[in-house]
């Protein structure tokens, strides 16, 4: 039982938050309506160094803006999307605290990428590779 009673009036997460390890069914307690149950958010996950992440993100932005002038277009585009992907990983892991979540959450969000890829794969030949004809009179 790790529930703690915080100072009165400050209600952290009464409505939709409960912490780990809170396995005891609280409705057994006779006066549970009068107690403000809260498990401090700090228990839930840790905090990375946000400033450092921000600086990395800005540096990556700089990279994606300059590669176009340095490399040939093919490589540049690949690099641009790689940096974009890196940025996304940084934001999701650190700012959204994905790295403190169970694997389940990662799988749920990664499923999005998989589904979009399935869609892309199925549509690809029909939009990009079929002989087209838009020359007939209107």
């Amino acid at each position: 039982m790790t529930t703690t009673i915080l100072k009165p009036g400050i209600n952290v997460g009464l409505e939709d938050s409960h912490g780990p390890g809170n396995f005891e069914p609280i409705h057994n307690s006779p006066d549970h309506d009068n107690v403000v149950f809260a498990t401090a958010e700090t228990d839930y996950h840790g905090h990375p160094h946000y400033g450092r992440v921000l600086v990395t993100l800005l540096l990556l932005l700089g990279v994606s803006l300059t590669v176009g002038y340095v490399f040939s277009p093919g490589i540049a585009i690949a690099l641009i999307f790689l940096t974009a992907l890196w940025k996304v990983v940084l934001v999701v892991r650190n700012f959204m605290h994905m790295k403190y979540e169970p694997l389940f959450v990662f799988i749920a969000v990664a499923a999005v990428a998989l589904i979009i890829y399935a869609f892309f794969f199925g549509v690809y030949p029909d939009i990009t590779a079929v002989p087209r004809d838009v020359t007939y009179p209107h």
């Binding site: 939709d16 057994n28 309506d33 499923a111 589904i115 399935a118 869609f119 199925g122 029909d126 590779a129």
Partner: protein, 567 residues
């Protein structure tokens, strides 16, 4: 909790309630009302097909434009405003908290918002009949450029286009999606986080699993279509050219976007009904569900495969022929998990002690009819035969043989089963049996002969077949008339249900607490359940299907009974 028992006004109790049970019943009532609207539309155009050119009782003359609109809106209503709210939202909202042993959904306010948005969407849909030009009449698939007015007019009149039947339909569907997405978030979070103590994943009843899998499929497949609907709305109202080949767009894109959602949607509708069967069949055969874990795995497999098969609706649409082979293989592969699930249900019957009460009748009828629907799918999953059968009445009969049992038989099975829970009263079983047999017979009369019409080359969505020599001859016109008479019979036999429903509500035939002697948690609470559902909250010790345990004198052991072996 001081306001728990305080008397509430009609409005806050029944209309703006955040209680999951009220919301479930709101969804159900709206779905049943929309089913009435959809059934009326079906009656009108079926009458026209059997007796072309005649004035239709309770409607009048039906023009080609209204015919198209009626066919379109009938499909839309039955899928999005009957199937989705009744199967997914109504039973999901009512059953999830009460079957996992908790007080309410995770986000009750969001839930109330979802039902209000759903109501708004239904209003917009019905309003689309009354705007200038009438409701949209291009098929429920809404293929552009027919649905993209921008194609014909590069600078559409903004307000006129916005208040056209097409735009209102897109808007209504979009709002409906929003409502269902809110519901889906609620289902998932509730099931993951709010289960009763001891309810580990393998102790959750199958219907809860299936409702959640359905919600996940819906959530993940609807995204591209939402984007596509925005694009279609822009084409209509602002004159963009996403689906206009003259300006670089491609109508094929919409077909893919639509079916990428449209096919998984079928499983979103099917899975809750299969869950209902999984609850009913064990109860009335007094036997554990056959292969519970395998059923869950098969459903997960089908959820995964469901996003890989969509283009089997487009075999003749001019897609890449090699891709068609790929999708054909995917389609027949997806028959495997569903066949496995149905076979497991049938296997549950063997060695049981079967009582054919009304919910069981509906469940068995569902399995029997779905057999025909599923097996005729094999014809259409084969891309070569689909060249001939696509867009014929063979397809129409096929998907009515899947969706009608799915939506209506599944709904009635669940309704007769859980009605004691909803209301504390028991429906008249004799009328229930009449209702079942008449529905069963008329349904077969309605759609079975249409398979032959389809094989004879009768194509869909034609209000007058007189131009086509192949199908305007006998016996196909007689088949149409038999179908229409059966359709009228089918609609009329629903009044038995309505009478049963209303007279039971007005009577005082009190039901016992657990009338079917079921093991799941919902029967532990009072009927109808009070606000908060349980007192005290149950603790789960065993799986949902412990019927006829070898060493127990009773033939059912509820989930909250401790296990002496303590495992």
């Amino acid at each position: 909790m001081e306001n728990l028992h305080h008397k509430k006004s009609f409005w806050s109790k029944y209309i703006f309630s955040t209680d999951h049970k009220t919301i479930g019943i709101q969804y159900m009532v709206m779905g049943m009302f929309m089913a009435g609207v959809g059934g009326y539309l079906a009656y009108v155009f079926r009458y026209n097909l059997a007796f072309p050119g005649k004035s239709i009782p309770f409607y009048g003359m039906l023009g080609a434009e209204q015919y198209n609109a009626f066919v379109t809106i009938h499909g839309m209503i039955m899928v999005f405003w009957v199937g989705m709210p009744v199967l997914l939202s109504a039973f999901g909202n009512f059953l999830i908290p009460i079957m996992i042993g908790t007080d309410d959904m995770a986000f009750p306010t969001l839930n109330a918002l979802s039902v209000q948005i759903f109501f708004l969407s239904a209003v917009i849909l019905i309003a689309s009949f009354f705007v200038p030009g009438g409701a949209f009449g291009g098929g429920w698939t809404m293929y552009p450029p027919f649905s993209a007015g921008g194609y014909l007019n590069h600078n559409p009149d903004f307000f006129k286009a916005l208040f056209s039947g097409t735009s209102l339909l897109i808007l209504a569907v979009a709002l409906e999606f929003v409502a269902m997405l809110m519901g889906g978030i609620n289902f998932l979070v509730t099931t993951v986080n709010k289960r009763a103590k001891g309810m580990t994943p393998w102790k959750i009843p199958v219907i809860i699993w299936f409702l959640n899998i359905g919600a996940v499929i819906f959530m993940f497949s609807v995204g591209p279509l939402v984007a596509g609907a925005f694009m279609l709305l822009f084409d209509n109202v602002l004159g963009t050219g996403f689906y206009d080949p003259h300006r670089g767009g491609d109508p094929m894109l919409w077909e893919h976007l639509f079916w990428f959602f449209g096919h998984p949607e079928v499983y979103v509708l099917l899975l809750p009904s299969l869950g209902v069967l999984a609850e009913i069949v064990p109860v009335f055969s007094r036997k554990p569900l056959f292969a519970y874990k395998t059923i869950i795995y098969l459903a997960l497999l089908s959820a995964f495969l469901s996003v890989l098969v969509w283009a089997h609706h487009q075999f003749v649409a001019g897609i890449d022929p090699r891709m068609a082979t790929f999708f054909s293989i995917g389609t027949i592969l997806i028959s495997i998990p569903f066949a496995g699930i149905f076979l497991s249900y049938m296997a549950t019957l063997w060695g049981g002690k079967i009582t054919m009460k009304v919910p069981m009748l509906w469940a068995i009828g569902f399995i029997g009819l779905f057999l025909i629907g599923g097996l005729t799918g094999l014809f259409l999953g084969s891309n070569t035969f689909d060249i001939y059968a696509h867009d014929t009445y063979f397809v129409v009969a096929h998907f009515h043989y899947t969706l009608f049992p799915d939506i209506f038989f599944g709904f009635f099975a669940a309704f007769y089963f859980w009605f004691p829970k909803f209301s504390g009263k028991e429906l008249n079983p004799k009328l229930g049996k009449w209702h079942f047999w008449l529905t069963f017979i008329f349904f077969n009369g309605l759609f079975f002969l249409l398979f032959f019409n389809g094989l004879a080359g009768q194509h869909r969505r034609i209000n007058d077949y007189s131009s086509f020599s192949l199908i305007s001859r006998e016996p196909y016109q007689t088949f149409e008339q038999i179908a229409t008479i059966s359709a009228i019979g089918l609609i009329l036999s629903q009044f038995i249900f309505l009478y049963n429903f209303i007279s039971t509500l007005r009577s005082n035939r009190k039901s016992v607490k657990n009338p079917w002697e079921s093991t799941t948690l919902e029967w532990l609470s009072d009927s109808p359940p009070p606000h908060g559902n349980f007192n005290p909250y149950p603790v789960v010790y065993r799986g949902a299907y412990d019927y006829s345990l070898p060493d127990v004198p009773e033939d059912f052991t509820p989930q909250n009974v401790p296990n002496p072996n303590n495992n």
